[in-house]
């Protein structure tokens, strides 16, 4: 009986899959969870669904969301990147140094931030693919080094964009709000959605995305197919680095400064968002849509618990529980499929 039910379900999944390249079932879990949380919190507090609060949630998701986008690529190859948080900070610091200390034009500064992220990703990628250092260790090293370099470059002090207000207005102004005053959604939110669309196209439509899935699925098989696994694996870490760099620009702009002490711990939030979104830590499976949903689950949870005046310490405990529950639900789903 169960067999036939699964077979029918699988057919449907296969058809819908071509749109987002992942099993609809896994996204449904995360998406259902997100809706469930929203319903619970809006019942518990009338404030939860106000425009202000929803915009707050959207804004709070941007940095973690962009970091998680990059981490998704690495995790799909079966790897892990612990350096996304401090690389983000390093990118912010480099941008601030270029603009506020060296006085370079803003676009050059922003480009410098992205390049910093790409470079850090390249170091990760070469260490993992060419030097065969396990991803956990390679990116742990880069995580520490990036933190140190941020402190050195900034003299351990925040650097403000006092002479260039345009930096902050990039993300904190609201292009939508200037047209529809009732909806003052800051630009940062659209950076997240734009980045997600780009990431989704890379993952599902390009050769890089294809090989990321293939490497996570069966690395030996793709090697025997004559694909240069090292090159593509390194490229995946570079892509992840670029997204970390973008997150660095967003956080620098939001805070109107580079805060060199920030960044540690962000990598774990990013990984949690990816995992809640249904991407498998053993590689080969995952989706950008899932990751975005996962990032929103995290920020809705934080926001809702805060509205309900749950102490911050307890917020952490609940978030931890949710991460484990999300992955356990996925484990159960797989077991049933087998």
């Amino acid at each position: 009986m169960r067999q036939t039910a699964i077979a029918v379900g699988a057919g449907e999944v296969a058809r819908r899959e071509s749109i987002f390249h992942t099993a609809a079932a896994r996204k449904f879990l995360a998406f259902g969870g997100l809706i469930g949380l929203a319903v619970i919190f809006s019942l518990a507090s009338p404030y939860f669904l106000t425009v202000d609060n929803v915009i707050g949630i959207l804004l709070a998701t941007t940095v973690n969301g962009v970091l998680a986008l990059g981490a998704t690529f690495v995790i799909i190859t079966g790897g892990i990147d612990l350096s996304v948080g401090t690389v983000m900070t390093m990118s912010a610091v480099v941008t601030a140094v270029l603009i506020s200390v060296w006085g370079l034009p803003v676009p050059l500064g922003l480009l410098g931030g992205l390049a910093t992220g790409a470079l850090a990703g390249l170091v990760n990628g070469v260490a993992v693919s060419k030097m065969k250092v396990p991803p956990f260790v390679a990116t742990l090293g880069v995580m520490m080094a990036a933190k140190g370099l941020s402190l050195i470059a900034s003299g351990s002090k925040p650097i403000y964009f006092s002479a260039t207000p345009v930096v902050q207005s990039l993300t904190m102004d609201s292009a939508v709000g200037s047209i529809i005053p009732a909806l003052p959604v800051p630009n940062a939110v659209f950076f997240l959605f734009g980045a997600a669309v780009v990431a989704s196209v890379i993952l599902t439509k390009t050769i890089l995305g294809r090989y990321a899935f293939a490497i996570g699925s069966n690395e030996e098989a793709i090697r025997l197919s004559g694909v240069s696994v090292d090159l593509w694996k390194a490229s995946v870490y570079v892509v992840c680095g670029v997204f970390s760099g973008l997150a660095g620009l967003i956080i620098a702009s939001r805070l109107n400064s580079a805060q060199p002490a920030l960044g540690a711990g962000y990598e774990l939030d990013a990984i949690a968002a990816v995992v809640i979104g249904g991407t498998s830590l053993s590689g080969g499976e995952g989706s950008i849509l899932g990751t975005v949903i996962g990032a929103f689950v995290m920020s809705v949870l934080t926001n809702g618990l805060r509205i309900l005046s749950v102490a911050q310490e307890w917020q952490l405990v609940v978030t931890g529980g949710i991460v484990i529950a999300a992955v356990y639900a996925d484990v159960l789903r797989r077991r049933r499929q087998r």
Binding site: R210, E220, L224
Partner: protein, 532 residues
Amino acid sequence: MANAGPHGPSGTTQQASVSCEPVVSLQGISKHFPGVLAVQNVSLDIRPGEVHALVGENGAGKSTLMKVLAGVYRKDAGRVLFKGREVEIPSPRAAQQLGISMIHQDLSLMPHLTVAQNVFIGRERRGGLGLLVDDRRINGQTEQLTALLHVPVDPRTRVSQLTIAKQQMVEIARALSFNAEVLIMDEPTAALTATEIEELFHIIRRLRAQGVGMVYISHRLDELKQISDRITVMRDGRTVDTVPAADVALDDVIRMMVGRTIYQSAPAEAPAPASADVVLDVKHLRRGNVIKDVSFQLRRGEILGFAGLMGAGRTEVMRAIFGADPPDSGEIHVRGRRVRIESPADAVRWGIGYLSEDRKRYGLALGMDVEDNLVLAALHRFLAALGWVRRTATRSAAVRLIERLGIKTPGPQQLVRNLSGGTQQKVVVGKWLLADADILIFDEPTRGIDVGAKSEIYRLLNDLVRQGKSIIVVSSELPEILRVSHRIVVMCEGRITGEFPAAGATQEKIMRYAAARNGGPAPSAAAGPVST
């Protein structure tokens, strides 16, 4: 199809192509691995439009030889001629571009990608800017390929959702997409059902009619007559002979596989009395597709040999009894009591010890010393309060075992990593003795052990049964099975196909049962009880 052009019906070309020049000619190929000469000076022709079967016992060198041709391994010596021209094949990709594709025993597909993405992996059609992948084109091409095979598979389906048989078709489609002129199949039918095998044979015949030269590695001798044109037998890394399939008897093939020297069972040192108690009684064990209704008994003081070809399900049965992969159904009785074994811990409690075929991975902690390894499974007996380990007690237990088993080590403090394979095996035995196991399951006990140490292991087995232990030996080496066992059980495809006393048994007899599909022994079965 567009290519069904002016060449007329493909059937008529078959006769002509068989007599052609060989498409591949292997000459004097040798391949070493550290410590083993896997293939020695082997020559072999593959003609267009023939199915060339390659048979031999486990480890005869069939797969190694074919992996050299497919670019997975580099040859140490010899020449490969492709259509009369000498070629170097440095990589699988180079082989594929020549038109040589191999379908490996463990399929090399990426389960999370779609059928089309798998077929064209590494050769994606690039769309816009050379960056985007154009799945529509490869989907269309894959559809054409599968239509050619008359296998309806949606190219957009994920491979993980296909049956093993369909996955194999994907591999064949991938080979065809390279315009393969030579197709090597390693045990293609091992995981297929009877109807699926028929479908595969259909496709093989169609490819043959199109002039594709095929190498067919198989353990299933009864298939060879059906599908192959020529049979090459390999033994110990060499070719024994190549014969036309039409006029050879399978008994002759079996004789060539096992060699001229007929190993008879050495008289067991201490024959187990048939009246001894049954210590292990396994009834109707089943698990998925790999264990199909297996029942057998093990008596006190007996060595029961489990013979069979690779993939026959012997290790799976042992792992099921040991609780490593619990069975779906069936009963296990230990010393007359029905027991539930759901984990190795349960098995150990009932006195069952399992010595894995991969002792370095599953049997030993290589970085720990002999003493620690010996007491590992019985540590609870050496505990004082608060989990404190009584070192003097473990030391004296270790010293006693080292003496009793003749473990060659400078002392109990020696790291197991530094011991020879045979000595390591004894440490594992010692571990189980200390854990009070009296049913010992040895899976490939002499794999990777040199000849001298082998006979010592055999002596150890005999010592153990004399002390009242009962032993199951799983081995792929027929001489070994014949030498150590009192009784032999032969498995094939998850079933027990034969059971007989070792006295008077021969390698040929075991081989016939091991290659027998669906229960019955293959041609000219010796009279003997077949328990199913």
